[in-house]
Amino acid sequence: MATSERLADWRLAVVERPKTTLFGGLFVLLFLDLLFKLVGVELTVGSASLLGGSLAVGRLVTLVWNGLVVGLGIGLAGIGLSMTYSILSFANFAHGDYVTSGAFAGWAAAWLVAGFGSGAFEGNALYLATVGFGPDGPSSAVLSINVFQTPLAVFAGLVVAVLGTIVLSLVLDRIIFEPMRDQSGIAVLIASIGVALALRYLVVFVFGARNRGLTAGGAKLILASVDGKLAFADKRSTVIQAQSGDVPSGAFYTELPVVDFGSYSAELVTISSAEMTLVVVSVVLMYALHVTLQRTKLGKAMRAMADNEDLARVTGIPTERVVRATWIIGGGLAGASGYLIALERGTLAFNLGWLLLLLIFAAVILGGIGSIYGAIAGGVLIGLTNSVSLVWIPSSFSTAAAFAIMILVLVVRPDGLFGGVTTA
């Protein structure tokens, strides 16, 4: 049945190729418009603007960077969803709440460690363990958690987020999904909605419904073009002084020995230490997964099973072990992504994962269900869409735009942009 469905999907993709061309054309048009805007050229007919306009390079670079950061977070979360979707054959609507649970577990640990470090632990243990749920206790400003001041707290949080979500997903699989292995994907999907609801409101029960601040301080790195030379600085004042030809002594300022943009001077992008942490940790985790899947026997078994579960069963691949590994990897990465996204935003609320879930689905579908690299690429694409679309549409529509892109992909290429290339 699965193969005939896949074949039917494939047939659809062929029939719909004219649409693919159409949307490809649209994409090219938008790209041209972006170029025109950057150069500052505008094509007009009467009072209506056809193409182009103006757009500062710095704004575009910032949008792309933001898109990349968000996209890597989504991609990281998407890997798990993609794997469970193809290996267990159901769309896990609780995945977003795994992300939330991981974030809360991780941040509870980070707050405890930071509280210990700053001497605020005494008498506040429960307050810290509920990530500051309550009126009395040290605020995030007092704890001032960030990668530079409290690296241990941030790292401990990440580890707990990963481990906590792994345990959670294994326990939930044991209680809820394992007894449903022989049921249809839709039945399991419905059950996963129940899991999502229960998890989310247990989080509310324990941690409260409010949005809380998590971090304080941290460093930032400004990339700017100073008289045509790319330079890094850690303060805006340094950049401004440098642009007027006077680099303050003692300040952090490094010019890059690369291309010369003439006399172009502008601030391009500000990179925070939290963003950098997300990017670096995500990439490291993704690479580690890549190595695991390529090199180990288990990884090969997982890829085989994602391709064809029946075949895997016949050839004697221990399916339950693969399922467990799937939850371990998927759950762990979901927890990590929740923790890192909360770090990057600096805030955390109970609906973090639910609001991300559709974007994660979008990434997974875009990349093709079952493909791990697809999920990463899809995540980055969705992040970029979400962010760069701001050039054309008001910010209140950017999430809607990402969803619309997902619907388009589902309709035009149900197998994802990279078409039917399965796991890894």
Binding site: L7, A8, W10, R11, V14, V15, G420
Partner: protein, 297 residues
Amino acid sequence: MTEDGTTVEGSGETATADRSDEAETEQAVDSGESARRELDAESASLVVEDLRKSFGGIDAVDGVSFSVERGSLTGLIGPNGAGKSTTFNLITGVHEPDAGRVAFEGETLTGMRTSSIANSGLVRTFQIARELEEMTVLENLMLSPRGQSGETLTNAVLPGLRGSVRDEERELRETVWETLELFEIDHLAEERAGNLSGGQRKLLELARALMLDPTMMLLDEPFAGVNPTLEEKLLDRIHELREEGLTFLLVEHDIDLIMEHCEHVIVMHQGQVLAEGPPAEIRSNDRVIDAYLGEDV
């Protein structure tokens, strides 16, 4: 190899289009070929021309051509993976062929929707019976007939129009019961289709297809999992229907059964037609025997 015209030369009586390379070259020099093809077109109910379909680089059906004579009981055999079911799916529009053409009673089917093909009188059954599990046997049969006015939403819902729908349903009910009696499954009328035994499902599927009042039926392994008594019954039914003028194309694993009951047999192998002709010729065709070597003939 004795491909020297066993199936082509002089058989004259039935449609023959052995598309294997050797046979093709021989046919090409045969001056009588075009005349015979025209004759085929008139007596053939279903014509399949050079059908091709590949899935992910594997050619499931690789240039299949044959025709089925009107009113005949034609058998389609071949080892597992020969492309029989895919051919059925291509004929009935479930898959779209990469190349080739299917014509039924002079009308091109290629590109038509599965539902339109069924409505044109070409009805199929499935290899693994696909009964509508949660529906009763009665509902399964009531579903089939073409052009039911109550399938239009307004007729189904609006007070003034429902009377005629009910009258129509009453008439259908009679036909359905008659069909159930004919197939001797009237005692199962109220049963959910999902509760039937394998053989009963096959009967139900055949009865349900028959309710469409087809001119030709494509039966995909109708006897798989059916006990011998029931198989006899099914075969009797098929022969009766054939005498009433129905055309049958029958995919079957049991070669002896095909040889005994079909007057014309098509053999597929690796997505191509290996041979075709009367059972006696097929039985002595070395290439067919080669293809089945290792399998139970």
